[in-house]
């Protein structure tokens, strides 16, 4: 089962945790959330905007979740991404997976967020305390220096 969404409303992480399908055969649940950091590129971030190409982003996110479900034998995959204006600390993205095995739950969840960051048409504009702004490119707020492998920029 796959559930994807791009939402202008704040991501309600507690409601999404409560709203899982019945899963008596899935022992492993892994969740990833990306929260807005206060520093990026060494600059103090005040807030940021996510812009999305909704039609294509939803298609691509669905494909990623389908691939993950098949490859990692996931009983459930949910990927929700926020759009619009976000404050420091707010969740920008939430990935949830259920699997029989914990290894596959971890790897499946990691696969979805890595692929999302590499392929899904979503763009982040950072507003800094010094008044400047920037459309960040491939430098994400979670792993600016570690996660370039696997990116598929053309």
């Amino acid at each position: 089962m796959i559930d994807v969404a791009i939402t202008a409303e704040p991501i309600d992480t507690r409601a999404l945790r409560a709203n899982l399908p019945e899963h008596p055969d899935s022992g492993g649940y892994v969740c990833f959330e990306g929260h807005i950091r206060d520093i990026n590129h060494g600059k103090k971030v005040r807030r940021l905007d996510y812009e999305t190409y909704d039609e294509l982003a939803l298609k691509e996110l669905t494909r990623i979740c389908e691939t993950a479900a098949e490859r990692f034998k996931l009983g459930f995959v949910r990927a929700v991404h926020r759009k619009g204006s976000l404050e420091i600390g707010e969740p920008a993205v939430m990935i949830q997976v259920l699997s029989r095995h914990r290894r596959e739950a971890f790897e499946g969840c990691r696969f979805v967020i890595d692929q999302l960051k590499a392929r899904v048409p979503i763009w982040k504009k950072e507003y800094y305390d010094d008044g400047s702004t920037e459309w960040t490119q491939c430098h994400d707020h979670v792993s600016p220096d570690h996660d370039h492998e696997g990116h598929q920029h053309p």
Partner: protein
């Protein structure tokens, strides 16, 4: 013959063009790469073809794909979601 194309702009391309979308007319048989070349010159886009991807009718496409009348085209700068 000519083809009417609806173009959408995102992120830095939106900032450079000053618009979210517009309707343009291209020569029949023009390719996505031709359209991008024209727009990159017109709006001084800071990205080359190697930096971006293209979507036609809300699906990833190749730059050498000929455009048809009524196509929706979007150029995709490097993504930064998550």
């Amino acid at each position: 013959m000519q083809a009417r194309i609806a173009v959408r702009y995102f992120a830095v391309l939106k900032d450079c063009s000053g618009k979210q979308s517009e309707e343009l007319t291209v020569a029949a048989g023009a390719r996505a790469s031709d359209l991008y070349g024209m727009l990159a010159e017109k709006y001084a886009f800071p990205l080359g073809l190697k930096d971006i991807r293209v979507a036609v009718n809300d699906e990833f496409a190749k730059f050498d794909q000929p455009l048809n009348d009524g196509d929706k085209v979007a150029f995709i700068p490097p993504v930064s979601g998550g």
